[in-house]
């Protein structure tokens, strides 16, 4: 892509198997390149090598990459972690919970159960700083976006749009159906890295009451909240 990017595309699918492959190659590329001059990002089915300076000889680069990929036997994702994120699904935050439960013929309780059950896979971060693309939403919860996007969705809001679910890292306009709010700000521009959760990690939501939500918010503002995480053995 242009003078400063090499885009590597794989079969157009969304799967954990492909993610495993992408992250494996991404590690290889990061080892191969000096991180100061090159940044590698992945999406569902692509790797983008983005260079700080114009590429001098694209053929040399491509053959080096091919060689790198050729010898590779794909291994498991390294250092995968599960992050447990609290979500308050009460009416104050779950703006569209009622609507989802009616549309899907489920009680609100069942919607929450279905939403907190999976270990969601983080495929990549994009769209906004700290916005995680999560895979693994239960088919019974898939629902189309709102016809009219809202002008303002609160920071921390959890929504569903088609087969995707995600958390708004900052308040912004948006068309997703909102079912709760997560008080944890896992993207912090003052940290390096600014986000602990990265591609390949797992996210699991757990339901908290309004009181617990406020307690957590308070602990966060005092800087004493500990995000629950553990190693994931796939």
């Amino acid at each position: 892509m242009g003078e400063r990017g090499i885009l590597i595309e794989f079969e157009p699918e969304i799967s954990e198997k492909l993610l495993e492959k992408l992250l494996f190659y991404k590690d290889k590329l990061e080892e191969f390149y000096d991180e100061v001059n090159v940044e590698v990002i992945n999406t569902y089915n692509s790797l983008l090598i983005s260079y700080m300076f114009s590429i001098e000889n694209v053929y040399n680069e491509v053959s080096a990459i091919k060689e790198l990929f050729g010898e590779a036997k794909i291994g498991k994702i390294n250092n995968q972690q599960i992050f447990h994120l609290p979500v308050c699904y009460e009416d104050e935050f779950g703006w569209d919970l009622e609507y989802i439960s009616k549309e899907k013929n489920l009680s609100k309780k069942e919607v929450v159960e279905l939403h907190t059950k999976p270990f969601y896979t983080v495929f990549f971060t994009g769209f906004l700083p700290g916005f995680l693309y999560l895979g693994g939403l239960d088919k019974k919860l898939q629902i189309s976006r709102k016809d009219q996007p809202r002008m303002k969705i609160e920071k921390g809001a959890i929504g569903i749009g088609e087969n995707q679910t995600g958390i708004y890292p900052k308040s912004s306009p948006g068309g997703w159906q909102i079912l709760g709010n997560c008080p944890v700000q896992f993207f912090d521009k003052n940290n390096d890295p600014p986000c602990e959760i990265t591609a390949g990690d797992k996210v699991k939501f757990y339901s908290v009451s309004k009181e617990e939500f406020e307690e957590i918010s308070e602990r966060i503002s005092e800087g004493i909240f500990q995000l629950k995480k553990e190693n994931y053995e796939g």
């Binding site: 892509m1 242009g2 003078e3 990017g5 992945n42 700080m52 700083p129």
Partner: protein
């Protein structure tokens, strides 16, 4: 000595920028940085600054600024009729500043974005390795009245130089924007491909640091793609048939087909286009 530029009037839209944030695209953080790198490099070169010293990017209607201490400045990129106190000054020259001097701008003569460099650069906050302003990453998004921006005052002469810089401003006015075929270009029907090669397009009024929309509507039968990587300079084709040229503050991923990719020079040139200007894509292989 610490010194400050006071914002007496913010103008239309001005920000502090450098080369941008590297290494955080994987967290969804835009690259940001000056829209026109040629102008940044030129202005810093004139002052013998580091190439990436932070500058002020000024869009169309310039601000009114007051300097608290002596320094030197240089302005490059668009010409927005800069004035020091009551005297008109030129772009691409060293301008000496004395305590209390006021810099203002007038009628835009050519180009869209002007760049104000100051000796040693603006010393505003650095977040994630860059001083480039971006909403929610830095404390400020754009200049506001009453703000104060830090710089290092300097009385002494660095070393007198008599070399002049020959600034080639041809890129500011040229209609030819260098492009490469984008990842989805080959999926376009032949008629649309040749349309992209031959036709003129116009800059829409919908344009900012994230993206510049083009006015023409094309027939688009391409399906959306699975969300994939995008870069500054990526040209997307929307389901409604509009071309969107992504610029420095663009998101890191997108779902519209990526039909073209501007060259670096092409991005710099695009940064200087304003609503109503015409462009033509010149393909580079």
């Amino acid at each position: 000595m610490k010194a400050e530029v006071e914002i007496l009037h913010p103008g239309l839209y001005s920000t502090i920028q450098d080369f941008g944030r590297r290494g955080f695209q994987k967290y969804g953080v835009p690259l940001s940085g000056v829209m026109d790198r040629i102008a940044l490099k030129t202005a810093n070169l004139i002052l013998q600054n580091q190439a990436d010293a932070a500058v002020m990017e000024i869009t169309q209607m310039g601000p009114k600024l007051k300097f608290s201490a002596a320094t030197k400045i240089a302005i490059s990129g668009a010409n927005l009729s800069p004035k020091l106190n009551d005297t008109e000054i030129d772009n691409n020259e060293v301008v000496k500043i004395h305590e209390g001097d006021i810099l203002s701008f007038g009628r835009p003569k050519y180009g869209m974005r002007s760049y104000l460099a100051i000796l040693d650069g603006f010393k505003t906050e650095k977040v994630l390795g860059s001083r480039s302003w971006y909403d929610d990453i830095t404390s400020h998004e754009k200049l506001e009245k009453g703000m104060n921006l830090q710089y290092e005052a300097s009385e002494e002469e660095k070393y007198e130089t008599h070399a002049t810089i020959k600034f080639n401003d041809e890129y500011l006015n040229s209609e030819e924007i260098e492009v490469f075929a984008g990842p989805e270009f080959q999926k376009l029907p032949e008629t649309l491909k040749s349309h992209l090669r031959q036709s003129k397009f116009s800059i829409d009024k919908n344009n900012n640091r994230m993206a510049i929309q083009l006015g023409e509507i094309l027939e688009n039968k391409l399906d959306p793609i699975i969300t994939g990587p995008v870069l500054p300079g990526t040209v997307q084709l929307t389901p409604g048939g509009k071309l969107i040229v992504l610029m420095r503050d663009c998101q890191t991923t997108g779902g519209y087909p990526r039909v073209l990719q501007l060259s670096e020079k092409g991005i710099n040139m695009m940064a200087q286009k304003k609503a109503g200007d015409k462009i033509r894509f010149s393909f580079k292989y």
